[in-house]
Amino acid sequence: MSPIIPLLILAIPLTMFLFLGIAGCKLSHKTAGVLGTLGMGTTLVLAYLTAFTYFFDPQFINEAGERIQQVLFDQTWLHLYDNLSINLGFLIDPISAMMLVVITTISFMVHLYSLGYMHGEKGFQRYYAFLSLFSFSMLGLVVATNIFQMYIFWELVGASSYLLIGFFYTKPSAVSASKKAFIVTRFADLGFLMGILVLSYYTGTFDFIRMTSDPTWVLASTGGATFMGCSVLTWALVLIFTGGMGKSAMMPLHIWLPDAMEGPTPVSALIHAATMVVAGVFLVARMFPVYMMEEAATTIVVVIGALTAFYAAIVACTQIDIKRVLAFSTISQIAFMMVSLGVASAGGGQVEHHGLGYMASMFHLFTHAMFKALLFLGAGALIHAVHSNDYTAMGGLRKYMPITHWTFLIGCLAIAGIPPFSGFFSKDEILSACYAWSPFVGVWMTMVAALTAFYMFRLYFLVFHWEEHKCEHHTPHDAPITMSLPLIFLAAVSIVAGFIPFGHFVTWNREAYDIHLDWTIAGSSILIAVLAIAFAWKMYYRKNDLPAKFRKALPNLWDWCLHRFYWDELYIFITHKIIFGLVCRPLAWFDRHIIDGTMDAFASITNRASDAIKPLQSGQVQMYVWVYVIGTLLLGAITVICLI
């Protein structure tokens, strides 16, 4: 494959960013929007072309039946020493080809949708410039040939996410949310950077293919070095995973994602649901063969993933803001993917087993991107119609917004795991992989899946059924065509995506592999999802006092969930009381009183000394003469005494 097309895939969004960013203010809103969308459309076509060529052209399959990883171009970008240089390139393999499809599809849909959603907003051109920058960085991230290129684009993604969350920069909440997102993820990226440095110090390379094609070599190159009782490789992998935790909003670092919903809704759909937040999953998948070598690191992945999935799911059951429900749902679903990768790599060497978890994770990434973008764009249409984020301002909207209603329902069914919608297939594979690893994790994740079905249908019933909300201003109606079209397209994808034979395309060792549905697991998960939906229907279909009773019965649990288990308060407590109060304040005191005090003391000594000797300079000429004469006589006397 010639390197022209891959180069264009990266160059078009970048050019679009520069063009719209510099010349945007000269263009009308419409021109800028259409130009951005057309640019993304071209990228979409090229990315599809690349992915289809890769998946269907036999030249990319070797004699052993494996798909090959091909580097389409790789250019030295920064040459430091003979054995240390940083390359920028374009690597195509099953997961990067899949991500190209996901990113360009969602990004194009969001560009199209934003034409309607952001209509008439101030800074429309800037918005499209930032969207292009984000698309460029995300595409650069997934096709990275080496871990340092990934890190560079990883930071670019973080920066463009910051710009987009803070797009409404006159709103203080948006500004603080963007800062929070940037600082939390940046903090996690520090771990990522340290991980990269540790890993490349021992292996002497940044290159992905070098590391993943021979993970035993990576293990051997550390030479059994240990640090604080754990092997160096474990440390490196855990540190790299920390970066992934930040971007993918895993438990201790998840606090930025719900707040990031302050950004425009299409941005939430693009960045905080479908593409950027799965970067952490993608990172672990990219390094998967290396993770397989370290049981301890993968166990951490599983534990953190499982805890996050449950936590986010239970919090989502009580949130009032519909975008926050979706945000917590995203956290929970990404945790599903993480768990799946974890159980796959900790599988104890059975190829069958690795294949299942890894493939399931990537499959879920794909389907989740589609249906979660659909749900977010649907939520955007709702917010556009009623001008509020809270479900209390909605209710009974199914009559007024039929397109939004049906597409949203499809999204809910997909995420709840009802066949034949796409979420069922991918989630079922994940559950199979979990059961194969440990029944406990399997049961745990099934429980989370039930909660998923419950909170999504709680949201659905509260928004579209429940009690009709009185709108004072106007009757809500369906969104314009530019907004409905992406909804319909994504709903169609969410219906059919489950039937893609994903195992033939994306597996950990790149060999084709057949998916088998395990009907005992599938049957039980369908049953439990249906039960959860029925429960949600009982509670929220018509206005009744069951939710209030439920709330009274478990007041503590409800409060804890509503306040997201007080994580934000915990962070504020730690930063303000402990870090600021116990560390920074004494440091500030030391600085102000000891260091500044020493300098001030020098200054005041000089001042006082000068005050003390100033009267000598009296201006009385005869006084000077006196002093001069006496001094001369004294000196003369001393000289004479010395000479004698």
């Binding site: 300079q617 009296s618 201006g619 009385q620 000429v621 005869q622 003469v625 006196w626 004469v629």
Partner: protein
């Protein structure tokens, strides 16, 4: 009785001390200037005395003295000019009052 250098030097020293005393104690600037001239003349005398007693065949000391007298005349004229100007500005030539330029 042979004339020794010390007979010349002692009057010169007395002259110098008188000048110094006048310079320190008189508050009138004109009087201070006169005292200054007195000290200068004492120094000039010393030049001549040492030339006469140490290097009898030579004239350098004499020449220096003539130079010094000429320069002292110019300097006195300058000083008088300054004193007159000071008097015009502050209506006073008492040296105790003239301390505005100390810092």
């Amino acid at each position: 009785m042979e004339l020794k250098a010390i007979f010349y030097l002692i009057p010169s020293l007395i002259m110098f001390c008188c000048g110094l005393y006048g310079f320190i104690t008189r508050k009138n600037m004109i009087a201070m200037l006169i005292s200054l001239e007195l000290m200068l003349n004492a120094v000039d005398m010393n030049f001549v005395i040492f030339n006469r007693f140490l290097f009898p065949g030579q004239m350098e000391g004499m020449m220096f003295t003539l130079f010094a007298i000429a320069i002292a005349a110019a300097e006195t004229a300058l000083a008088i000019a300054i004193i007159i100007n000071v008097f015009r500005w502050v209506k006073n030539i008492d040296v105790r009052e003239l301390n505005k330029m100390k810092f």
